[in-house]
């Protein structure tokens, strides 16, 4: 039988060594540590009773960990959770992701809104990318951002919670720094504020947790997750390469990642504000930087008409089916 180091708190077999704490933690104390880190972000964002949080449930490990942690903390904070899954139409990957999101939200008693892109606008992400002659990942990101914001506006959510973990944040930050896109660094805080009627604020509860911690937590919670990687993900994508290099760096200088995240969480508002104007898209009414929003522009060009308004109506119908319209705040 394996020899497992004992938990530094209670002496039970450890499931992880948590470097920022310099402690071995068992199942119970690891879950407690993870939830405490999530709770700290919720406290900073002043989440409280009556708030509705829309949780992006992709079906992967991070969103499963996020949904489990937020479900655990419901009682202490008094918020309401709604999960949303976007079926992007990427073959088996999307089918398994959707199933994972459905199983997990049902298990945790969280209502799930499924936005099937083909049902909503008639095409999948790969089809939209092909027609518009744009890279699939770029179209996918744009579609996801739009749908999440539209669903949050329609459901009157206070925040959109996403499963971005600390490693994701570091990769985006370094990528932004390399291209000297300093305005993007300002968007990389643990939460952001809403813009009334146009955009709902983001909440990143896994900000101070690593990708590995997220997977360990999801496994300990017995979460149903899709472990596959999107077939469109380029293994040489800059974010993937940065993550690998940062993990090497972490091994040589333990603590470097958490230190960077702590500093970014304190200093992100010091970076320049985006210079672009904020306006309502004349086609769908949601946020744009002047003129039509990117989603309406993309769908007008590719499909002959802007689809933002149609997506909003589709989501409204889904919320009505679940009895979730006209509540929240």
């Amino acid at each position: 039988m394996a020899r497992i180091p004992p938990c530094s708190v209670c002496g039970e077999p450890a499931v992880a060594y948590v470097r920022p704490l310099r402690k071995f933690l068992c199942r119970e104390h690891f879950v407690e540590y993870f939830n405490r880190r999530v709770a700290r972000i919720l406290e900073r964002a002043r989440v409280g009773p009556g708030d509705r949080i829309l949780v992006a449930a992709s079906g992967g490990k991070d969103s499963a960990a996020l949904l489990n942690a937020l479900a655990d903390l419901r009682g202490s904070f008094g918020y309401e959770l709604i999960a949303i899954h976007i079926d992007l139409g990427i073959g088996d990957f999307s089918r398994e992701s959707r199933r994972a999101a459905e199983v997990e939200s049902a298990r945790l008693g969280v209502p799930l809104v499924v936005v099937d892109l083909r049902e909503a606008i008639g095409v999948s992400v790969p089809e939209l990318a092909r027609i518009s002659r744009r890279p699939t990942c770029s179209v996918c990101g744009l579609v996801k951002r739009y749908v999440l914001n539209a669903a949050a506006i329609e459901s009157r959510a206070r925040y959109i919670a996403t499963g971005h973990n600390g490693d994701d944040i570091i990769a985006y930050a370094i990528k932004s720094f390399l291209s000297q896109d300093l305005e993007s660094l300002r968007k990389l805080g643990p939460y952001s504020d809403s813009i009334e009627g146009l955009a709902v604020g983001r909440l990143r509860p896994l900000y101070m947790l690593t990708e590995k911690e997220s997977l360990v937590y999801a496994l300990l919670k017995g979460a149903h997750i899709n472990t596959a990687t999107c077939p469109h993900l380029d293994p040489d994508q800059l974010e993937v390469v940065i993550k690998h290099l940062m993990n090497e760096f972490e091994v040589r200088r333990p603590g470097v990642k958490i230190q960077l995240l702590g500093n970014l969480a304190r200093r992100y508002r010091d970076y320049p504000e985006p210079g672009e104007a904020v306006a309502a898209c004349p086609s769908c009414g949601l946020i744009s930087s002047g003129g039509e929003c990117s989603f309406c522009r993309l769908t007008r060009k590719a499909l002959g008409e802007p689809m933002g308004r149609r997506v909003r109506l589709y989501i409204r119908g889904k919320l009505e089916e679940l009895g979730l319209m006209g509540q929240g705040g």
């Binding site: 394996a2 992880a16 994701d168 590995k212 990687t229 993990n247």
Partner: protein
């Protein structure tokens, strides 16, 4: 000998215990930040020691995309 399954490839290798999890990962070219190791179904820290007859799973930590 302990049986080690490396996922997602499903590759199977056998290792002779006692062997530290951190050493196993290094032999696979992985750092401790890039994989979760389960011994007999439970995650373990990289300081854990694998013995003969253990069932080991190595899960690579990666983004879904």
């Amino acid at each position: 000998m302990a049986r080690v399954v490396i996922e997602p490839e499903g590759r199977v290798i056998e290792v002779r215990g006692p062997l530290r999890v951190g050493e196993l990962l290094a032999s696979l070219g992985l750092s401790y930040e890039e994989a979760v190791v389960l011994i007999n179904g439970t995650p373990v820290p990289e300081q854990a020691v694998i013995e003969g007859e253990d069932e080991v799973r190595v899960l690579r930590v990666r983004s879904s995309g």
